[in-house]
């Protein structure tokens, strides 16, 4: 069998960590080859080596059977390797066409010649059913469309080997289906695709073969058709993974948080971001706020935690009014918050792990004495949490959090927030961008908190998470609560109707 790309025995080290340890990846012509692994398994590093962003210490790369020297992305392009990055690299105030030709423009007497380019773009768009309008501004098109522009860029440059780096992370379910079709189409036209992901469903759907990495090591390459999802996840994580969240009966207790007629002004428009929302969260239950992104969930959480002022309405926490309390007062009185954006709010990336683990408690008696930090206690605390929550990093408590993998950054935040022993745990998108193992872990922790008699408020966009973890579901649409459901009886379709605003009911 002819291989179009062969990466043989690749080893790449970083200080304190071997990112790729003797990894081999062989991709056949015209196949969709999935690269599966947890966060920090070495997928991105391996692709960066292929793309010339990193230089491997050991190993060889062959393209079409010939040894290839790839020192920078330009070399990679010469070999026809193109990559769709997780974060798109497009100029927003340029049109699609201008973005596609950027860097390979045809110029005549100092003037841009776009006519030929336009024809080529239209031809490719038709050939692969991309439905792209070459004159649309990037700032006007959807995220899914932006991704297609990136794909078109690769095709325009006549790349034969296409790398997709977690392409579905930013897409809606419909857009994901479309992308899957496009990928199959590309493969049937003879392009070879490397598909980086940690979502098993997607691999099952499109990939021909899958190479699994775990903690920087090569595990296996298998045929997708003959391998079950359970087997794949076991290879990836190294143990059996539970897809169903294990949890016992809920025993809801007293009301911990009561939200009454909450209104939050929108920063961007005249409409209210949160409009007249009322609900209660009890001890021993996981209440989930479901909804499509941008329907006021973020503002609701900001209002609950004090990051945003409240326009009207009131908040009762453990019976006392916290409507006008400061962030610190709320935090100290027993509200923990796993924020949506871990880089913006959750961590000070230039502080080390130990310093980040006391971000919410550095002012407590345990960690300071007359304003002087007790470093011994702070580092002891960090070592304890690192062990208890299995936070992995290059240099332990001294690691800069910037250098840690996303999953471990999230674990650090979860550790810090749970360690505060709160009465109410607000978790916003706590598993965003994490792999199955980490997701399982975080879900387990949320259920543990519930079983320990805490109230958990989960805000999630992931349908599976909503269905599996929560005890009660409220759906938010355009700043209002439009439905409530019991996850044991409601169907995903019905929830979808609430989430898209097609169905609504009056709550309580």
């Amino acid at each position: 069998m002819e291989y179009v790309i062969e990466m043989l025995n690749i080893t790449k080290e970083f200080p304190g960590i071997i990112a790729n340890d003797d990894i081999t990846l062989q991709v056949r012509k015209g196949e969709i080859h999935a690269l599966l692994g947890e966060n920090g398994a070495g997928k991105s590093t391996l692709m960066s080596v292929l793309f010339g962003l990193y230089k491997a210490e050991k190993g060889t790369i062959k393209v079409n059977g010939q040894v290839a020297k790839i020192h920078n992305p330009n070399d990679a392009k010469k070999y026809g390797i193109g990559m769709v990055h997780q974060h798109f690299k497009l100029v927003h105030n340029f049109t699609v066409l201008e973005n596609v030709v950027l860097g390979v423009e045809t110029v005549e007497n100092g003037f841009l010649k776009l006519k030929d380019a336009r024809e080529k773009v239209e031809k490719i768009s038709k050939q692969y059913n991309l439905f792209i309008d070459p004159d649309a501004l990037i700032s006007d098109i959807s995220v899914g469309m932006e991704q297609r522009v990136e794909i078109l860029k690769m095709l325009y440059r006549e790349n034969e080997i296409l790398i997709f780096d977690e392409p579905t992370a930013v897409l809606t379910p419909q857009e994901i289906d479309e992308l899957m079709k496009i990928m199959k189409n590309l493969a049937s036209e003879g392009k070879s695709i490397i598909f980086i992901t940690h979502k098993l469903n997607e691999i099952k759907q499109v990939a021909d073969r899958v190479t699994v990495l775990r903690k920087g090591k090569y595990i296996a390459t298998v045929d997708v058709a003959t391998t079950s999802k359970e087997e794949m996840s076991e290879m990836m994580v190294g143990r059996k993974v539970l897809f169903e969240v294990e949890k016992g009966e809920q025993k809801p207790g007293e009301v911990i948080l009561e939200v009454k007629n909450l209104v939050v002004k929108s920063k961007h428009s005249h409409k209210n971001a949160v409009n007249n929302v009322s609900f209660k969260v009890r001890r021993g239950e996981i209440l989930c706020i479901a909804g499509i992104e941008g329907n006021g969930q973020t503002d609701l959480v900001y209002a609950l935690t004090g990051l945003t002022p409240i326009e009207s309405g009131s908040l009762l926490f453990k019976g006392s009014d916290i409507t006008h309390s400061t962030i610190r007062q709320r935090s100290v009185s027993g509200i923990s918050h796993i924020p949506e954006d871990r880089h913006k709010h959750g961590l000070v990336l230039d502080y080390n792990l130990a310093e980040n683990l006391v971000l919410q408690s550095y002012f407590q008696k345990d960690y300071q004495n007359n304003g002087f930090l007790k470093f011994e206690a702070i580092y002891k605390h960090a070592t304890d949490l690192i062990q208890q929550f299995d936070i992995r990093s290059g240099e332990g408590a001294n690691s800069k959090t910037r250098s840690m993998s996303g999953g471990n950054q999230q674990k650090a935040i979860v550790a810090r927030e749970i360690d505060k022993n709160p009465d109410l745990l607000i978790a916003v998108q706590p598993t965003r961008g994490l792999d199955v193992g980490a997701i399982e872990y975080i879900h387990k922790k949320l259920v543990e908190q519930r079983d320990a008699g805490k109230a958990v408020l989960l805000v999630s966009l992931e349908m599976i998470e909503v269905m599996n973890v929560s005890d009660r579901i409220l759906v938010m649409y355009e700043g209002e609560l439009v439905g409530q459901a019991d996850p044991r009886v409601v169907s995903q379709q019905e929830l979808g109707l609430y989430m898209s605003g097609s169905k609504r009911e009056v709550i309580e």
């Binding site: 080290e13 959750g346 919410q360 002087f372």
Partner: protein
């Protein structure tokens, strides 16, 4: 030994030293171009810098280092907390004026403590001057660079105006001599005979040490730095980020203001000139902070180094170098020295390669 070589402190220090060497090489080229015959002699003079005049030269080095330790701290402290205080010049001269004003006018205060009161005044005035850009930054998100540059000019003209109105020595077009409030010499003048060094250098070093302790060891410093690194996260953690930004700026300003007081109460015959020139000590704080990598302890050494070069430059006049060439030479050395950040990256890359090679 290997552990020492790879330690961060060592890499930082060696980066600073390496950049200083580059500065010297460049400076030597400047000398060769301007006056080849005397280049070697002149260069040796600047190399031996503060040692040229014996103990006097050393004393002068410490004397000149005093104000730029303070302005270096001012810039460095703000840096550490995510702010760029380019207004040290204005805060410096406001502090200087306040000190001189108190020293001349506050005749009711006993001579023994007058200098201390005047210095305190300088400290407070510098802080107040930085309150304006600090307030604008914290509560209105106005860029502190722009705001503090403006405050430099306002400060300079205000001081010129106030000197003429209050403590003017018309004959010399400068401020009066604050004879009753000279900072004590505490025996340093006999140790470094003939120089202007005084208690000020010890005060400056103490302030630097306090700044270091505040930044690295206290909850207050933890908050200030958290705000500087990530304002959103510090808000999330319940810190009052607005107050912290304001305080960072005020503390930075107070350091610069104290620097002004320390220089003009040194009893060295230095007076506030009524001219339209921004105080250079304020801007010299920037390379000092860069060279010291914003670490208060590093800033002490960086300031002493810059002063050392300046003293060397002074003695270069013996070799018939015109002051302008000396200024270029000194500036080139300081300028290149501030590249230490760049060299630090190179050094850590070098050590990484070496360990990987093994």
């Amino acid at each position: 030994m290997n552990k020492l070589l790879k330690s961060k402190g060592f890499q930082n220090a060696s980066a600073s030293i390496l950049s200083i060497i580059f500065g010297f090489v460049f400076g030597f080229i400047v000398l060769l171009i301007s006056n080849p015959a005397n280049a070697v002699g002149g260069f040796l003079t600047i190399l031996s810098g503060g040692f040229t005049g014996g103990m006097k030269g050393l004393g002068q080095t410490l004397y000149l280092a005093t104000p730029i330790i303070m302005t270096g701290l001012s810039v460095g402290f703000a840096f550490k907390t995510g702010l760029f205080n380019i207004g040290a010049s204005g805060q410096f001269i406001i502090g200087a004026f306040t000190a001189v004003f108190i020293a001349v006018k506050a005749t009711f205060i006993p001579t023994e403590i007058l200098w201390l009161v005047a210095l305190t005044g300088a400290f407070v005035a510098g802080g107040l001057w930085a309150l304006v850009p600090g307030f604008l930054k914290a509560y209105r998100n106005v860029n502190e660079v722009i705001a503090s540059i403006m405050m430099n000019y306002i400060g300079m003209y205000l001081v010129n105006f106030m000197v003429v109105k209050t403590v003017f020595d018309a004959a010399r077009n400068q401020s009066m001599t604050p004879t009753r409030a000279i900072i004590p010499k505490v025996g340093l003048d006999t140790l470094f005979n003939g120089s202007n060094v005084n208690l000020g250098i010890i005060i400056a070093i103490l302030v630097a040490i306090i700044a270091y302790i505040v930044l690295e060891k206290t909850t207050f410093g933890y908050e200030l730095k958290a705000c500087g690194y990530n304002r959103s996260a510090s808000q999330y953690a319940g810190m009052n980020s607005k107050r912290n930004i304001l305080l960072s700026m005020v503390i930075a300003g107070a350091f610069a203001g104290l620097g002004g007081g320390l220089l003009y109460l040194a009893g060295s015959g230095k007076h506030i000139q009524v001219v339209d020139i921004l105080a250079a000590e304020g801007f010299n704080g920037i390379p000092v902070a860069l060279l010291g990598l914003s670490n208060p302890i590093g800033i002490i050494f960086a300031a002493i180094f810059v002063a050392y070069i300046n003293v060397g430059g002074f003695y270069m006049q013996l070799y018939k170098f015109v002051p302008e060439v000396i200024s270029i030479m000194v500036a080139a050395i300081i300028y290149l020295s501030a590249f230490s950040l760049f060299f630090r990256e190179q050094i850590s890359a070098f050590f990484k390669k070496r360990t990987e090679g093994k």
